[in-house]
Structures are given as structure tokens and as C-alpha cells.
Symmetry: C2
Subunit: 468 residues, 2 copies
């Protein structure tokens, strides 16, 4: 690819010096060019290279962000927004250097409109901090990627998680954004009404743009009422296929399940090692139902019938809230649990998403591929959306192992695409999956994305070298 | 506004002649320059002027659409896509002339993936035709604007309707689009997976773009399973405020209501005149619950409690499907019902949408404004979303009446905007609401929309003179 054509390039050394000097003067102790700090603000998870920015600043307001971006725009210096650094595809790397905007000091919940079921937050608020803030309001924010990610980062990667099957993804739960554009201007993408037909959907353009079009500085989010009743638990299955088939039927019959997560036998083993849950090491579904007392009882009974039809069961209920929390924390820790399966290995987590009718086929073929490749790679997934993750445990000192893993990842994406799926359901493109954009999208669609990028970021300074 | 700067202009006469000649030759009897046909393809509803295109063609394939657009692009001739002509804000007018693409012959349901709860349709399929096609599949498509609109038009205006409170709007129910771009290229905006984080959300960029960025030629839609049980009916209230307050509490308590529609007393009178329903002429809510037998019974009982708290009731159930159909058809005919209130008048239908906490206030102030202005204007609304419609009945032969109506419309939009709402929840901008775009959006956001428009439609041929 012609990097120049996409506007990616290292900044001129003099321009960079001008910018870093100005930022050091302005931000004082909220500026750092320390090598360790810089490395911590580049890619730190999975096997990608660590490509640090030239400096890190910690803005405290939208105006400060706008100032930094305007300065960088004037001098052609890259700007990379940073939330918690938990993205998996190299989104926060700085392959062309530049300024990292660490948003962690913009961490206020600025407004909660309980009566409208919405709130407004700064981008550095994490999902757990938001739910902690909402604790006594009767409301919650449902999107839950594994990590305690920042809301700004979650919006930028169009994140989802275990509740997406019921509550949607970030695309569905962001009402409006405040954004600093690539020229340093501050805009609002929409008003606070629940729906609108007034103009282009700028909100959805920035959700999932991975910081390549601007920096998100404020997010208005939809919230949900805490369900009156929650029930859930674990259901073992004789095979991954049986678990997938039960999932497919659950979705097709319209059961309003809140969570339905697959763990394959290897992942369960990892969870047992990491979280000491003592689960039977067989494929299983973790499920949860939200509603009224009568409603969740009815849903649970129906799910039990479906599971039994595919040889699943017996169902173990986690009735006490602390048991449920323990179970779901174990699920969220699946990345770390996977690491427990091969101490010393790097965990490379990836995801694909296919139409649900192809799910059992896709997961089964993937398991066979893992076995044939001699890889250690547990599978876990938001199977209600047709989305699953494979965590490859790779010995980075063994080039053959690395090559096997790379070849497998390539086949996995190709398999998902061949089934009308996407190369990423929720992790995003970042650096790692850029090579699949031209396979996933028609040439005209990719051209259109590049046209939009050039129009909105003519100097190519916003998170360059990512996505397109 | 500088029309030239936005790329709007009448085509050169010679260029136009070249295009129309070529189209007449290619399309034969699927080409018309007949004055009546042209007038029928311009704005025909409410009081806007009728601005006909220079000709109308009826494509039968995406390739034909691409050919027309490429030809028009080469000669700088406007292209206006036309569904059923039921838009309310002048979207299909041709203020600069050009070619109307009547999509009614592209009316095939090309694929139904029952197991994935999705389908693929050509843009000329209407919502009722789609549901007729799906009748024996156990699935339905929930989005229902009043008119039997085309799916392509509904996508283009980001339409919604009575089911949106439960199932979302077109934004939420379009999985992917095939689009002919402004240069005549054919693109796919996304794959068929239920979610994806692979690149900019081109799907949402075209949903609601009102044909100003390209022509939608194929739509992949999410479908819903037909609920096992439906219950619903009518609940009268002592005042519009009481009905709105009951709605607000229903939403806030998280009751998963499928439909909750307000009719004010005047609208009920119109419905009685038009549909002979014999309803008590007082403000009322039409509600519907979807779920299991036990679930809808529980939901109905809870709603009954909430209604009673605000003085509503007694509740009349429409238990037989034919009674429900009659009731909802009457609701969908509210535009025609309004006309019955003042025979000979023009009906000017408009909508605003506010955060639900402001709904009662907004509707009450609007009713007071109607009374003070001496206007005849029933109110009806998708109040669960904070969205309501006012249908002004205007004597077009009385300039004072027209002026009163215009002044009122202006105040209505201003009132909605002042309450953090939008100037249109679901009708779109078209020609009529363009003047409010700069009040609704920050200057930078509007600039960004114009930048996108210029980047994707550099010759300004796609539905010029609309939206921005």
C-alpha cells in the first residue's frame, strides 16, 4: 500500500520538536517523554510490536484536546488517543511517532438523566467506574468487553461484549458524541433525543472509527433499567456443535436471553486453573436471563428444554448474586485464564463473527483446524451474535509456533469471510487486521472509506497507519 | 446559502438533452417525460411546491441504476431516487430538474434467511409487501411508518413508526446495503454478520442520507420472530399530560412495551370520522405488548397499574386479531383521519422528538400554542420515543391561515430544540426543514456533513437541494 497516498508519514523532526516543546511548556507535569511511559502507551497486549509515541500528554478538558490537535495539525504530527490500552489489534501503537493523548484524567461522569435513561461521560471513564457511579440509580450500562476498558475506547472500537445479544453494541448505545475534529474544532454529532432523522449519522461515523477521524471527548450513552430479576447459570454440552446448535435455536425462537456465552472444554480448563471454579471440563454455555420474576422463570425453563433437546444439562443455577458475579468475572478473565494453560506463552486473542446459521460449522471447523495445527487455543464466544474468540497461546521463542499461529489466524479470518461473516465482530481492525479490509469490503467501499478519511483528516494525522 | 458552493445547479441544457435522449433510447417504455408522470414524481403531499424532474426512468436492476448515475455524473445532471412518494418534507422534488429513478420495478424479495432472522430486498419492496411475503415464515419486519412506504425510501429517511420503541428504527434494522455511488460505482456497505468492527459504518452513513450520497439498490434487513402472544388495546386519559406521564413512567420502569401511541382528543375525533371506530373523544394511548402468554399478561397488568396511577382507564382490550388490525390501521390512517376534520384543507404533517422527560411539557405547550393560534391541528405520536406529530389543517386559500401555520411550525421546532430535541424524529429534513439544520447542529458538525457530501458527490448530482 502506498502510505504516502493515505497521508501517513513520520513528522518532520523540526516540526516534532516544536510541538513537543510547546506541549511540555503547556502541560508541565502532565507531559511525559519518558521511554517507559511512552512504551506503556503503545501496543502492550498480544504479539504486535511496541511502537511508542514521541510523547504522552494527559488533557483535562475538551479545550485542551482541541489545543493539542490544532497544534499537531499545524505541524503535521500524528495524534493517537489512548484509553486504557486494552485493545487487542495494535490500535494505540504509534508507527509514525507523534503525540499520545492519554484520556485517563478526563474521567468524570458529567450528567446522569435517570428519567431519560441516559448519561454523559468523559472518555476516560471506564465501564466499571460508570456502573459504580450508577449503582444507586436503578440503572446500568450493559456493554462489557472483557477488560475494564474506557468508554471512549469502547466507542472508538465499536466494542460489545456478553450483553450485546440483548442490549446491542456501542453502535446502538451511543446517543451522541462530542468530538475534536482533525483540525482541532469541537463538534457535537447529535442531540439527546432518542431518535432523529436530521442529517448524516455522524455519531455512527465516529463509533468504530478507531480514532482515525477525530478524538472523542464526551459521550452520551443510553442506559438500561436494572432488571427486577436475574437468573442464570451454566449448562454443559456433549460437544461444541451441540452448544452452538442450542444457541442457534434459542435465538431463532426469539427467547430474549440477556447473555449466552460459549466456553469450549479447553477454555473451561483455563478458567478452572485461573479462577478455581471447579467446573466440569466440557463445552458449556453460560446464560443469563433478565426480566420480571415470572419472565425469567419462563425463559429459563424454555432454555432448559432447548438445551435438553441437544443433549445439554444438567443446568446449574447461580442463584446468589455473588455466585453470578464470580462466574461472570471468570468469563471476563478468559484472556488471563487462557494464559494459565501455557505459562510463559503469549496470548493472541482474535475474533470473527458469522451469521448465526453458520456458527456451529465455523466453530467446529475452527476446532478441527486447531487440533490439526497442533496449537493450544481455547475458544470462547458471544455465540448469540455469531461472534467467537480464539485465544492462541504462542511460544514466541519458537518461530515454527509463531508461523503456525499466523497461518491459523489467516485461515480463521478466511473461514469467517467465506461464511458471509466479518474479520472482526468487536475487536476492531487496528494494525493487525488491516490486511483483511480489502477481502472483507468491496473495492468501492474501501475507496469510500479512504475518501472519507482524506476529506475529514486531510493531513492524515489522526491515528495514522490504522484501519485503512 | 450559496447554492453553487454546495454544488447545486441546473444542468446545462445540452447536457440534459444528451442524457434524456440516451435514457429514452435505453429504457424505451420504461422512460417517460410526460408532464403528468413527472408531476406525480415530485412532491405531492402537504403544501410544498411541486418541482418535477425532467424525466422518469424505471430501472429493473442495480446495473441499470449504475448506468443512469454514471451517465448523469458525466453530464452533471441531478439524480433523484423515488420510492412511493410518501415522504412529507419534499424529499422527491427536483428543484434543479434532472432524472427521477422510480424504483418501483425493483420490487423483489431476493433472499430470506429465516434461520438468521434476516432478508435481502430490492428498494422498491414496500413494508406491507415484505410482510406479506414473510407471512408463513414466522417472521416479520417491524418498522411501520404510516404509509406503505418502500424499504429503500424508509432506509433513506431513517424512518421508524409505532414499533420503534421496542424494535428500533431503520438505523437499527438495516444490516447492510448495496449502493450505487455518485460516480456510478456499485458498493456493499457491510457483510451479513450481526455485528462488525471492520471499518467505518458506511451502512449508517447511507441510512438517513436522503439519497444525497448515492442510490440504495439492495437492503439486507433484520427480521423479528412473530411474537407468540400479542395483547393490546386502548386506554383513555383525562388529559394529554396524564397520558404522557403514564408513557414516561412505562418507559422508565423498563416495561418492554411494543407500541405506545398517543392520540389527542381531536385526533380521536378524526379517527372516528374516518374509520368509524366510535371511540370516546378524549386523549388516549393505544398500546400493544409482545411476548409469551404469561409475559404479555404480566406486562398488561403492570401497564394498567401505571395508567390508573395517572387517572387513565378503563382499558379496552382488542383481543381478536381483526379488532387489533382495525385499530392500528386507524392509527396508521391518522393523516387521512386528520383531513376529515376540515374537508378541503391541506394537511401539513410534521414531527419533533425530545428526551422523554420533556415529552409531557412539550406536548402540553404545543397544545396551548395550537389553541392560542386558532389552528386546527390534531396530535399523534410515538410517545415511547419522545416523538410526536402535529397535523396542521390549513386553508391554502387563506394567506392568514397559511402564515399562522408557518409561524406555529417554526415555534414547534424551536420548542423541541430548546428541550434538547431534534427538529425531526423520523420524517427527515428534505427541503422543508433545511433551514433548521444550522439550529440543530453545531457549525462544525454541519460543515462536516457538507465536507462528506462534497467528498462523496463532488459534482453535487445526488438529490440536490435537500438536507444540507
Amino acid at each position: 500500500m502506498d502510505d504516502q497516498a493515505q497521508g501517513f508519514r513520520r513528522p518532520d523532526a523540526a516540526a516534532l520538536a516544536t510541538v513537543t516543546k510547546a506541549l511540555a511548556d503547556t502541560f508541565g507535569n502532565r507531559y511525559s517523554a519518558n521511554a517507559t511511559v511512552r512504551a506503556q502507551h503503545a501496543h502492550t497486549i498480544t504479539w504486535g510490536p511496541n511502537q511508542p509515541p514521541d510523547c504522552v500528554v494527559y488533557p483535562q478538558s475538551t479545550e485542551e484536546v482541541a489545543g493539542v490537535v490544532a497544534l499537531c495539525a499545524a505541524h503535521g504530527v500524528p495524534v493517537i488517543a489512548f484509553g486504557t490500552g486494552t485493545s487487542l489489534e495494535g490500535h494505540v501503537n504509534a508507527p509514525f511517532g507523534g503525540v499520545c493523548l492519554d484520556m485517563s484524567m478526563m474521567n468524570r461522569v458529567t450528567r446522569v438523566n435517570a428519567e431519560d435513561l441516559d448519561c454523559e461521560v468523559e472518555p476516560g471513564v471506564t465501564r466499571k467506574a460508570l456502573n459504580e457511579h450508577l449503582r444507586d440509580s436503578g440503572l446500568f450500562f450493559p456493554i462489557d468487553p472483557g477488560a475494564d476498558a474506557s468508554i471512549g475506547g469502547m466507542a472508538s472500537t465499536r466494542a460489545s461484549g456478553t450483553n450485546a445479544v440483548r442490549y446491542g453494541t456501542m453502535k446502538d448505545n451511543v446517543l451522541s458524541l462530542e468530538v475534536v475534529t482533525a483540525t482541532g474544532e469541537i463538534i457535537r454529532t447529535a442531540r439527546r433525543a432518542k431518535k432523529s432523522s436530521a442529517g448524516y449519522d455522524l455519531t455512527r461515523l465516529f463509533v468504530g472509527a478507531e480514532g482515525t477521524l477525530g478524538v472523542i471527548t464526551r459521550i452520551t450513552l443510553r442506559l438500561q433499567g436494572l432488571p427486577e430479576a436475574i437468573s442464570g447459570g451454566i449448562c454443559p454440552f456433549p460437544s461444541v456443535k451441540a452448544a452452538c446448535d442450542a444457541t442457534i435455536m434459542t435465538i431463532q425462537t426469539g427467547l430474549p436471553i440477556a447473555r449466552i456465552e460459549l466456553l469450549d472444554a479447553l477454555q473451561v480448563k483455563g478458567v478452572n486453573l485461573h479462577s478455581k471454579l471447579g467446573l466440569p471440563e466440557t463445552p458449556m454455555l453460560l446464560v443469563e436471563f433478565h426480566g420480571t420474576e415470572a419472565g425469567v422463570a419462563e425463559q429459563s425453563a424454555r432454555f432448559g428444554d432447548i438445551a435438553a433437546e441437544f443433549g445439554g444439562g444438567p443446568f446449574t443455577w447461580a442463584t446468589r448474586p455473588e455466585d453470578r458475579t464470580r462466574l461472570w468475572q471468570a468469563r471476563h478473565d478468559s484472556y488471563w485464564a487462557a494464559l494459565a494453560l501455557r505459562p510463559g506463552a503469549k496470548a493472541v486473542a482474535t475474533d470473527v463473527c458469522v451469521p448465526i446459521s453458520r456458527l456451529a460449522e465455523c466453530v467446529t471447523q475452527t476446532q478441527a483446524d486447531i487440533a490439526a495445527s497442533g496449537l493450544i487455543a481455547p475458544i470462547v464466544g458471544h455465540v448469540g451474535d455469531g461472534n467467537f474468540h480464539v485465544t492462541l497461546l504462542v511460544d514466541m521463542d519458537d518461530p515454527a509456533d509463531v508461523q503456525r499461529a499466523e497461518d491459523f489466524l489467516h485461515r480463521l479470518v478466511r473461514r469467517g469471510l467465506a461464511m458471509e461473516g466479518t474479520c472482526t465482530g468487536e475487536h476492531g481492525i487496528g494494525q493487525t487486521k488491516m490486511k483483511y479490509m480489502s477481502e472483507e469490503h468491496s473495492p468501492g467501499a474501501l475507496d469510500m472509506m479512504r475518501t472519507i478519511k482524506r476529506a475529514l483528516d486531510p493531513r492524515g494525522i489522526m491515528n495514522p497507519g490504522k484501519m485503512i
